[in-house]
């Protein structure tokens, strides 16, 4: 059998080579289908990886607790509109829930920052020292606030890359410089390493950090002392995120004296939840892709079936001769199946080639990240093989069922 299969493959390639135009047109469906799938999957995978990286840039095993909406006589304010979370909530959570590695808090406001003759409006965040470690902020130069800075509500600031770019000339050293935030002078003690876009697509590097105590007492002006914009917590292990979030909910409900029938006055989101939302988007994309791929492979497969039926008719006499000299039904069946699979596999390989080129071009021209995984290529290859096999079956069977006498006499 191996010699038979080998020769049949060679014969099939030669037969296709003879009718290059016909073979090319037949393969077109498969080429386009596989090419589109490869290109789209690699774009999808690239986008997914970028999103995953953004989710990871939030920090490690992070839980975010936002104040809930207020309801005043049935009029609901937006999320975060209420002042329901406080510094003491944050401290108490850490004390009561051993699963939590740390808790932190932050409060933000957009303010004008001035350095010499340059100015920029950016989000100023008063943060607890633990916030930086929870969110995995690293430093490009300088370092975090000292404990003393926090206790004395010192006027010190950390700047993100975007802010540095807007306030300082290239080559100018920000660390040690004096800037003004809402007209209050601050000394820059650190520049943060870049993080890029957040999972929601906002620029995480457009940020200024100052100690929470300083923000409360010297910059923001607060109605309720100790109220925070958001609480942050982190766990040691990613598996603990769910149960930690549940425990946080219980503790906060208790602290806020909520009755069982009352809704939470806060919202808890874990890093895993945020990741899932993003994955959901890419799943929709995958389903769509799968549909497109199925349709084009179906069309390509029908093309192959069609051309094979023509081929069987054209070569009826040849089939008769082959049967006369001893070809069994399965020999004829295998021969035509191999021809179908050669068509679809050559088409598939061309499609893979075009798909990879398309993905590369997308990266070069549009700057979208693309990932071409070996798995995708392998699946595309196997699929094109399967299409050939499936759509070759009917014509091949038709050929194998020919009666040798009728086939020999066919004009």
């Amino acid at each position: 059998m191996p010699a038979f299969v080998l020769l049949t493959v060679l014969t099939a390639i030669r037969i296709l080579g003879r009718n290059r135009l016909r073979a090319g047109l037949t393969m077109l469906g498969i080429v386009i289908g596989v090419g589109a799938v490869i290109a789209m999957v690699s774009i999808g995978e690239g986008a997914k990886a970028a999103v995953a990286q953004r989710v990871a840039s939030m920090g490690t095993n992070v839980i975010i607790i936002l104040p809930g909406s207020t309801t005043t006589s049935g009029v609901r304010g937006g999320q975060g509109g209420a002042v329901t979370l406080t510094v003491s909530d944050g401290l108490d959570l850490k004390k009561r829930i051993p699963l939590l590695r740390d808790t932190g808090w932050a409060k933000r406001d957009v303010m004008q920052i001035v350095n010499g003759n340059k100015n920029w409006s950016g989000p100023v965040n008063g943060i607890s020292p633990s916030y930086l470690t929870i969110r995995d902020w690293a430093f490009a130069s300088g370092g975090p606030f000292s404990q003393q800075d926090v206790e004395t509500a010192a006027r010190v600031a950390l700047l993100g890359q975007t802010v540095v770019g807007n306030l300082f000339d290239p080559g100018e050293e920000p660390v040690g410089a004096m800037i003004r935030i809402k007209n209050v002078p601050f000394r820059v003690v650190g520049v943060l390493a870049p993080k890029g876009q957040s999972a929601q697509g906002s620029d995480q590097d457009d940020i200024i950090f100052i100690p929470f105590s300083t923000a409360e007492r010297k910059v923001f002006g607060t109605q309720f002392l100790g109220s925070v914009g958001a609480l942050f917590a982190s766990t040691e292990r990613v598996e603990d995120l769910g149960s930690a979030a549940e425990q946080i909910r219980e503790v906060l409900r208790l602290r806020h004296r909520l009755q069982p029938e009352q809704e939470d006055d806060f919202t808890i989101r874990t890093q895993v939840d945020i990741g899932k939302v993003q994955e959901g988007t890419s799943e929709t994309m995958t389903v769509l892709l799968f549909t497109v791929a199925s349709i084009s492979l179906l069309v390509g497969g029908i093309g192959i079936m069609n051309i094979l039926l023509v081929s069987v008719t054209e070569r009826t006499r040849e089939i008769g001769v082959r049967m006369a000299v001893g070809a069994k039904r399965r020999h004829i069946l295998v021969q035509f199946l191999i021809e179908a699979m050669t068509l679809s596999v050559v088409g598939g390989c061309l499609g893979i080639l075009f798909g990879v080129l398309g993905a590369r071009l997308t990266t070069v021209i549009a700057g979208w990240p693309t990932i071409i995984s070996g798995q995708t290529v392998a699946i595309a290859f196997v699929f094109s093989l399967a299409v050939g096999l499936f759509f070759g079956l009917y014509p091949a069977n038709k050929a194998a069922r020919l009666n040798p006498i009728d086939a020999l006499r066919y004009e």
Binding site: M1, V321, G326, R329, I405
Partner: protein, 239 residues
Amino acid sequence: MPPLIRCEDLWKIYSLGDVEVQALRGLTLSIEQGEFVAIMGSSGSGKSTLMNILGCLDQPTRGHYWLNGIEVAALRADQLADLRNRQIGFVFQSFNLIPRTSALENAQLPLFYRGLPLREQRGLAMAALGRVGLQGREQHYPTQLSGGQQQRVAIARALVTSPSLLLADEPTGNLDSESSREIMTILDRLNREQGITIILVTHEADIATYAERELVIQDGRVRTDRRTRPGLTPSPGGV
């Protein structure tokens, strides 16, 4: 030793809609190993049907056919294919070479289905082409060969498996007289020198004279069975 071919009361009935056509009507026949038999008959006599059955391409409706002692009527399609591959070589009027395929590969075809190693297939096919005088033309395509040469490739294809029976259905029907003589000389030599049994279907009397026995089929039965002479030369003025 049993005869190579023994047919007993062969019937072949085709139904074409309501009409029944009796192509063979109780034909009985016996051919010994090494004979060179010409089968003649007008069209519609049943000779094509007989050839199909003798060539194991078709099964009789009733009756028995033993080839080399094997009862063919009892075999399944795959077994028939095997039998054709091992015992029978076909030569057709229209050559029936596979187009755009070299002479060598055409001659190789039956071995291809026997699953022999490639090298062995090549060797046997080269030898068969040599026996019909086509050395040096192994790589030629059918379109690059004359009719006589194409028919010789077909004979090489029939010979390559060393069959016990060679069925030639009007082998010279599409050839000029010179090529016809060439082909008949080759068949004659194969019969005399290698003892291959040859059954030749023809409607040309001068071609039939190459054979040593002449069967005339009429209305699905053997009408005359005449022995000419063993080992022969064409009759004067023939071909």
